[in-house]
Amino acid sequence: MDPKITKEYLLLFIYNELKIDEVKALKNELMCNINLRMQYDELVKTVKDLDLLWESPHPTTLKIIDEKAHDGFSQMV
């Protein structure tokens, strides 16, 4: 296995920060390296759990911003 493939390197893959050729090489490595695949799966699971925490602002806040956008635009034109 390429020594540069570490858990940190897997993070760059998960967060889409590798170049295309690096992505292809890593995908191949993940296909044939079970230990690496397990490390990857663990990281993905933890990262996915963070998706549970997305929050949305209150609709009133969005409405106020939208009105400001329109006011500003009217003033501009």
């Binding site: 663990e42 549970l52 925490l53 929050e55 400001k68 635009f73």
Partner: protein, 194 residues
């Protein structure tokens, strides 16, 4: 599918500048959760987060209207940086602690989410969300900072390095430790594993 849904951020900004006011609404809806979650995690106060969110977008509107926005910056990360800076200003001016956790590790965030009807219907899901949130808040500050900026604010590790003044490898390392620590906390927690 609405055409605006598939337009890029740069196209939407251009449409807005050309007089299509609905384009900004689409842009805001696309990025609202990412920006809001970033602020929310930083200030730990929903009402303050709403104010900062509003101020951040209004600042962005003024910037765009003044023709100062360059799409080379990418709207999402640019918006997140504005929000992060506003949140830091608020933390400094109000002397807020970036995290609020009591001696038993209970976060004020454990009580947030009551508006989410879906979560109310599913107690296990709700508990899991609360646990994950409390785990994130227990992380060391620097690890939490990188995690929030990468996962929620959508900044690249390179951008985070530039923003925090840390080496890029240090930032990736902190993210890795943050995830490893989260995993450890999850594995230890019986309730979470339900």
């Amino acid at each position: 599918m609405n055409q605006k849904e598939v337009l890029g951020d740069g196209d939407l900004i251009q449409q807005y500048l050309n007089g299509n006011e609905a384009a900004f609404e689409t842009l805001m809806k696309r990025h609202k959760n990412r920006v809001f979650t970033t602020i929310f995690f930083m200030v730990n106060d929903r009402y303050l987060a709403e104010d900062i969110f509003q101020e951040s977008f209004i600042k962005a509107i003024r910037f765009i209207q003044a023709g100062k926005y360059s799409h080379e910056n990418k709207f999402g990360p640019w918006m997140s940086r504005i929000a992060k800076n506003k949140a830091i200003d608020a933390i400094r001016s109000r002397k807020l602690r970036p995290t609020v956790t009591d001696g038993e590790g209970t976060s004020i965030f454990d009580f947030i989410g009551y508006e989410d009807a879906k979560a109310e219907k599913d107690m296990i899901h709700s508990e899991k969300v609360n646990y994950v949130r409390s785990f994130v808040h227990k992380l060391p500050e620097k690890q939490k900072e990188v995690l929030i900026l990468r996962h929620y604010a959508d900044l690249s590790f390179k951008e985070i390095a530039a923003m925090t003044g840390a080496n890029i490898n240090t930032c990736i390392g902190r993210m890795h430790y943050a995830l490893a620590n989260l995993k450890k906390m999850m594995d230890k927690n019986i309730m979470y594993s339900k």
